[in-house]
Symmetry: C2
Subunit: 362 residues, 2 copies
DNA sequence: GTGAAAGCGCTAACAG
DNA sequence: CTGTTAGCGCTTTCAC
């Protein structure tokens, strides 16, 4: 078929208008190549390459350059990326692996990464790993692009073996900074975020705390549990109940129901590992006839748009997702340039809204 | 620099171990090529290509094939995609252009498209257009991959001129089926969805309806307004108020406040162009001391996870996003195969939940 | 200041 | 059954 296409596209190489013409079976115009442009402009193909690559200063005369640009415009010339990539051996493209698309955190992460990449003339291809935080199967099958490097966010440490096999530089985001062979790491100060939540609740007089934890085995959630325990250490408060849930509203609601109706004293506050879980907790409260925040305080984590879609709005921890994406991409660029990459931990901040209030009397 | 790399990687072409070795400035292993594999297996480079491409049956003996596979594994050989793409003239990669990443609809769209693509051995690269539904600036700068085709969802008709310039086959999703030069179109029966909403509310006795419309100039929202007017035509009910809002919760809340506090009789039901707007409407109601659904019924559109994150859960219109993505990708595959693509319109369905109820007695 | 030429790594036709 | 060969379109020396 490729041969057929050549036949049709180049059969009249030495006469008649070569372009536009029909290529293959669907009526798509055969793309002009730099040789076509050269011919049209009456220059050599190399000159076209020089001009199009903005490398002509002092090598090609101004009128010639202008002629080339004109011919290129005329023919609708667009350089063939496959050829350029092959020749250059690099693609100026990075892959961003995320466990989910649905989550606004990752959308913002992408935005930041794409911005930083653009500054370096690099593109970003998103790969939502089908297995969530678990093993990421061959992203090269999906994002078929040849890649210069990979950034992965919030994945389990061993989820990236397939990807690492590609031998590409890897930057890990929101992941265990210890147990990793990534070239660089960018993290959030998750522990501090949880400390802030705990202090906030402590200050409001809460002593019996329930923890709605994400039932996902990844660094970011392990840190949350540990930090919460740390923060409560030596205070009058304690986690009286921990319930695990998948990261969605329904699972969060059921976990919160368990936490609120289980044996023992009822928690006056529910700390949730994510805003989605917190939304579920709010639903659970309402169904149990508890008012938020009067009877029950609820905190989230992430500050997704969901946090302000609810009423009352969620007290939660704001994660600088875009900054993480930017820092991650910059780290990758540094690695690609052979510069040493330092490990970063970005600050996070509690956003106090209406879902938390003073602990109910007693 | 590229020259340097070649030097380092291939300087000892005729002696010593060629692989692994150091390439460029960062310590990444130079990738083995099919020639390296051929040398290691003691066969010609073409044979390697045949074996790796699963095209060896009846052309290469079993032992030879096994030797090649062994050598490839040994060397960690991965075919160079840039080279393959250049040679084949196609990349088996499609671009999916969406106006937003944050929206679960588009996440599901991607899932469906990726599944259908995988069946054809095709990859999907996601391009979240920075300008939302507006003009999509050069996605080729971002997704640097060479592409075989483009699928665009919910974009303004003239937002794709840059993309179309690439001369690639284009399939449009959730877009005006008339005013388009796309090779194929896949749509949702949005009008029917709005009709269902109207009938539902009519049946509950609502006569004064407010419309919280998306202030976005795209087909999908124009249809909603028109269909609503159609559906109410000749009934006892009418749209007493229309307010426009950007597609987020806050804007939705403000628009709903305007609709509920403006002059004239207050609507007993608010039809919203999207679940996010409906979430805003619910917040507005609560702030105005109105109970949903007792004092005010609210409907959404899309059936995002947000719809069930709220309490009460939203009555909304479920859009088969994954099916749209699948159909879109299949249409693109058909176009690429030169087959005629038929225009499709997928059915949508009302999901009645707790945010709608009987109209409050006059 | 411009052109000629050498490949990047791969596939597919063709020759043995 | 296996090897040789001719490029895909581009970038980058190197001659002129």
């Amino acid at each position: 078929m490729a041969a057929d296409e050549r036949e049709v596209g180049q059969g009249d190489d030495k006469g008649g208008p070569r372009w536009p013409t029909v290529r293959g079976r669907h009526a798509a115009a055969a793309r002009a190549t730099s040789r076509d442009v050269a011919r049209a402009a009456g220059v050599s193909q190399a000159t076209v390459s020089l001009v199009m690559g903005e490398k002509w200063r002092g090598r090609v005369s101004e009128p010639t350059a202008e002629a080339v640009r004109g011919a290129a415009r005329e023919l609708g010339y667009r350089p063939n990326l496959a050829a350029r990539n092959l020749r250059l051996g690099r693609t100026r493209t990075a892959l961003l692996v995320v466990p989910a698309l649905t989550n606004d955190f990752f959308a913002r992460l992408y935005t930041g990464a794409a911005r930083a990449a653009a500054e370096h003339g690099v593109g970003v291809v998103l790969y939502p790993s089908p297995g969530g935080t678990g093993p990421a199967p061959d992203p090269f099958a999906s994002a078929r692009a040849t890649l210069d490097g990979v950034i992965a966010s919030s994945m389990a440490a061993d989820a990236l073996t397939d990807i690492r096999e590609g031998g590409l530089p890897l930057v890990m985001l929101d992941s265990d900074p210890e147990r990793t062979d990534a070239a660089a790491t960018v993290n959030l100060d998750i522990a501090d975020g949880m400390h802030q939540v705990a202090r906030h609740l402590l200050g409001l007089g809460h002593r019996r705390i329930g923890h709605i934890a994400a039932g996902i085995d990844s660094w970011t959630f392990r840190v949350r549990a540990r930090a919460l325990a740390d923060a409560l250490q030596g205070t009058a408060a304690a986690v009286v109940r921990t319930e695990h849930a998948a990261l969605d509203v329904h699972a969060g609601r059921r976990a919160a129901e368990r936490a609120l109706t289980g044996p023992g004293p009822r928690p006056t506050a529910l700390i949730c590992d994510g805003d989605m879980l917190a939304a579920g907790a709010c639903k659970a409260a309402r169904r149990l006839g508890l008012r938020v925040p009067d009877d029950l305080s609820v905190t989230g984590f992430d500050d997704l748009p969901l946090a302000t879609a609810l009423e009352p709005e969620l007290t939660t921890v704001r994660l600088p997702a875009e900054a993480v994406g930017e820092a991650g991409m910059r780290a990758l660029m540094a690695v690609l340039d052979g510069k040493p990459a330092e490990a970063t931990a970005l600050p996070v901040g509690l956003v106090a809204r209406r879902s938390t209030g003073p602990a109910a009397g007693k």
